[in-house]
Symmetry: C2
Subunit: 187 residues, 2 copies
DNA sequence: ATAAGTATTAGTACCTGCTACTACAACCAA
DNA sequence: TTGGTTGTAGTAGCAGGTACTAATACTTAT
């Protein structure tokens, strides 16, 4: 890499640090063919923190994000009322990562996931799998909306449970689903 | 916190470091009411690296995990063939975090999500939302299985696209879905 | 009770990756 | 030529350690 003007160098520095945050000043100095002091001055001007600080911040923010992801994986939505074997209510807020970037409309499978995991929660058996789902999306759901899903078992035949789930935002019904859940014997 | 025996102290140390990895030796020493040297000896015995090393490892692993999560969020499954406006094939491997811990059977909404995002990929429009879904789970899917979903547009009426998705593992059909996707005008 | 062994504390030299500062040289532009 | 920008060099000091030596306190076995 040849030596370049200050402005250009600082731009490269920004890029480098953004791409590989684990580089020390010494390594950066070698990469940009300048002295360590120059790198330090550049960092000072650009407000780039030192290596350890960069790593610390990454670790912190990444930890937070991971935690929220883990929470999300478990049960989709928050169970706020449950009468096992009868009915249940779950609440879910549409966050940024659930919508299409362009349209800000929620991806369909989040509503499905909320309804499906609620359905498997209300039927009062140790294990169950989904057999059939009949789903209707009535109106598009946008970022920031709070969805309340209500599930009700309407019929049981043998090991099959017929569950209806209706999901509303604060104004209207946005989604409805009919599931047939199959209770599963431990092998 | 009162002083305790070595064994117990080391157990507490492990817990503390696990819970709050950002504690320095000095802070740990204060918390456990022993000298900094004792903490260092304990860390040595237990193979706990120093603060900076702990943070570095967190940052690294968290970054990797976040990347894989992000990849997962985008499109569920891997698009391996796509004829826009006509058909498409997607592949998904069932991993540990997709199954119920007890039964090792995949949660239904992963198959749904794969099918749904494939369906929205095959219809060749800038934006689309799911209108109706009709889903049948034929056999339970277990951890480690590779699922191949094939989608086909069978009918178009106005801005409504009728898409069938059939999903197989290496032996049989495990899932099938019929979607009505609605093309969405930019507002 | 006393010796042997374990657990703990104290202190020193050294390391990395810096910050903060001073001093000075090189360049380029008016 | 003069002056401002730009780049280098070097020093002192810091955090959070490692690695090591030495000394003290506490237990336990005999």
């Amino acid at each position: 890499m040849p030596r370049v003007k200050k402005q250009q160098r600082q731009q490269i520095l920004l890029d480098q640090v953004h791409e590989k945050p684990f580089l020390t000043d010494e390594e950066l100095a070698r990469a940009l063919q300048v002295s360590v002091q120059t790198i330090r001055l550049d960092r000072l001007e650009l407000g780039i923190p030192e290596l350890r600080e960069r790593i610390r911040r990454m670790a912190e923010s990444a930890q937070d994000k991971l935690k929220s992801v883990e929470r999300k994986e478990e049960v989709v939505g928050e169970l706020i009322d449950l009468e096992p074997g009868h009915s249940g209510i779950s609440l879910m807020r549409i966050t940024e990562d659930m919508v299409y970037a362009k349209s800000q409309i929620a991806k369909g499978h989040y509503m499905f996931s909320q309804a499906n995991s609620l359905a498997s929660a209300v039927i009062d058996v140790p294990m169950a799998v989904t057999g059939v789902a009949n789903v209707k999306y009535k109106v598009p759901v946008h970022m920031g909306e709070k969805l309340v899903a209500k599930a009700e078992i309407i019929h049981v035949r043998g090991n099959k449970y017929f569950v209806w789930v209706k999901t509303r935002n604060d104004r209207e019904e946005v989604f409805r689903a009919k599931f047939i859940m199959v209770a599963w014997e431990a092998c």
